[in-house]
């Protein structure tokens, strides 16, 4: 039975169509595995090999991977939520009610999106502090650190713009408080706030603006920067590892 299944799987892996998609082919050899990474547009951001000691949980706490995981969850749930959402007043709030009461698993979708968003903000901060305390910002990784800081700000903006979308009291006043901070900028404060909200107060224009930022501009920017962020890890020699082995080597 098991052999039979294995046979069919092998057959599938050898098939023309499969091979046209996954060129590396199957096999346990390191060459195959290397090709699996190199011939895949997503995986080629990684080096073919990684240091074994960097797989230890204590080394990274997997915070980068986890942050990316929450981002994926947010993209998937976010796209599903977009199907039920109109960025208009007061329909946006009515859509929340529909998600809650009518849409199949609508509450779950919204909950998952919300909690994942909080988790992502938390994980991004944790990631930053972890990287700092490990000293992983050192050259040649200094620019990747800067990208990381920018990604932190984008994450905050994503969360902040998403906060307004339910158009409930919580959303409205949280965003009002936030936008009032922006108006404290000397000279340009009011102008910045006006540009941010598309008006002098949080209103339908602000909702549309935040929606576009939340669903288009910021996620695309984040994906773009994340690609650079990941690719740079590889270019800078994999995950930063303190030079313990070198010292052993000079003994």
């Amino acid at each position: 039975m098991a052999n039979n299944i294995q046979h069919y799987i092998d057959e599938l892996h050898q098939h023309r169509i499969w091979r046209s998609v996954f060129r590396s082919g199957s096999g346990d050899s390191n060459l195959h595995r290397a090709q699996a990474v190199q011939s895949n547009v997503f995986l080629h951001l990684f080096a073919v090999k990684s240091r074994r000691r960097m797989l230890e949980f204590s080394a990274t706490w997997y915070l980068g991977a986890l942050t990316f995981g929450t981002f994926l969850v947010l993209v998937i749930t976010g796209i599903l939520l977009m199907l039920y959402y109109h960025p208009s007043v007061p329909q946006a709030y009515a859509d929340m009610k529909d998600l809650q009461f009518v849409v199949s698993s609508g509450v779950f979708l919204r909950n998952l999106h919300r909690w994942s968003a909080h988790a992502m903000v938390f994980l991004v901060f944790a990631h930053m502090f972890k990287v700092f305390y490990r000293g992983a910002y050192r050259p040649p990784r200094e620019f990747n650190w800067v990208i990381g800081v920018v990604l932190l700000l984008i994450t905050l903006l994503l969360s902040y713009t998403g906060y307004l979308l339910p158009w409930d009291q919580l959303a409205y006043w949280a965003v009002t408080v936030g936008s009032n901070i922006a108006s404290a900028v000397p000279l340009l404060g009011q102008k910045i706030r006006f540009m941010m909200l598309g008006g002098n107060s949080v209103n339908a224009n602000a909702l549309l603006r935040f929606y576009v930022l939340h669903c288009m501009v910021l996620p695309l920017t984040a994906i773009f920067l994340m690609a650079i962020h990941f690719w740079r890890i590889r270019k800078d020699g994999g995950l930063y590892a303190p030079d313990k082995p070198a010292k052993e080597g000079t003994k």
């Binding site: 390191n30 060459l31 990474v37 074994r52 709030y93 909950n111 305390y133 408080v177 404290a184 080597g249």
Partner: protein, 234 residues
């Protein structure tokens, strides 16, 4: 190895399974090993599958969170009716707490601007890259700066009634004092570890502690009119 033709190399293992790095040593270079290659694993599947499992654990956790707790939803936004207190999202509550003490230009623009700038420039200062213990070089001058900056900071915080930020500052000062009093030849341990920590460590740790304290206070201990409340009392 005078004649290049004498060159030969042998492979012990199957190169199809294990890629091998080959070093060519010429007459002018010494063969001393400066850096011994360490143990590597294939990214696929070893690294990726571990990362995937980590993400799976997180997602399962989030899914259960979403199943058990509903995301908050309040009443329809009403511009005419301001809730008291009106709170920003939790990650901005540290800032909102600062706004309570300082004028908006300071708390809303200067402080966040400084924080972001500081974060960006960290990797561009040699002092951060060398990362020697804070008092290991130029000890006198650094001690003088340290013990004038910290009291000044404390006076500043108290002058603006930011008492919540004082304990963490005092804790950092106490730890710095321990680091200062640790002799260079101290046995390996907490004290020597402290003494080995660079300036950026101390600033970042202070920042992290204040961030947590201010955010925590803003989230849990602030009620109507931004007055003190206890979260467990209704």
């Amino acid at each position: 190895m005078s004649d290049p033709k004498d060159f030969s190399a042998s492979m012990e293992s199957d190169f199809r399974k294990t890629p091998v790095r080959v070093a060519f040593v010429t007459r002018r270079t010494s063969p001393a090993v400066k850096f011994r290659d360490e143990d590597y694993v294939m990214t696929f599947p070893e690294t990726l599958i571990r990362a995937a499992v980590a993400v799976q654990v997180l997602v399962v956790f989030l899914v259960w969170l979403a199943l058990l707790w509903n995301a908050p939803l309040e009443q329809l936004a009403d511009p005419m009716h301001t809730p008291n207190p009106a709170k920003a999202p939790w990650y901005f509550l540290g800032l909102q707490e600062l706004l309570h003490y300082f004028p908006p230009v300071v708390a809303g623009v200067l402080v966040p601007g400084l924080v972001v700038t500081a974060l960006v420039v960290i990797p561009y200062f040699n002092i951060n890259i060398e990362a020697d213990g804070i008092f290991s070089k130029d000890r006198r001058r650094r001690l003088a700066i340290c013990w004038s900056v910290i009291p000044a900071l404390l006076v500043f915080l108290i002058a603006f009634d930011v008492y919540v930020a004082v304990p963490a500052t005092l804790l950092i000062a106490a730890l710095l004092f321990v680091a200062q009093r640790t002799p260079a030849d101290a046995p390996k341990g907490f004290r020597s570890w402290l003494a080995s920590k660079p300036l950026s460590f101390w600033i970042m740790t202070w920042f992290l502690m204040e961030l947590m304290v201010l955010t925590g206070v803003g989230t849990f201990f602030r009620g109507p009119g931004w007055s003190w409340v206890l979260p467990w009392r209704g």
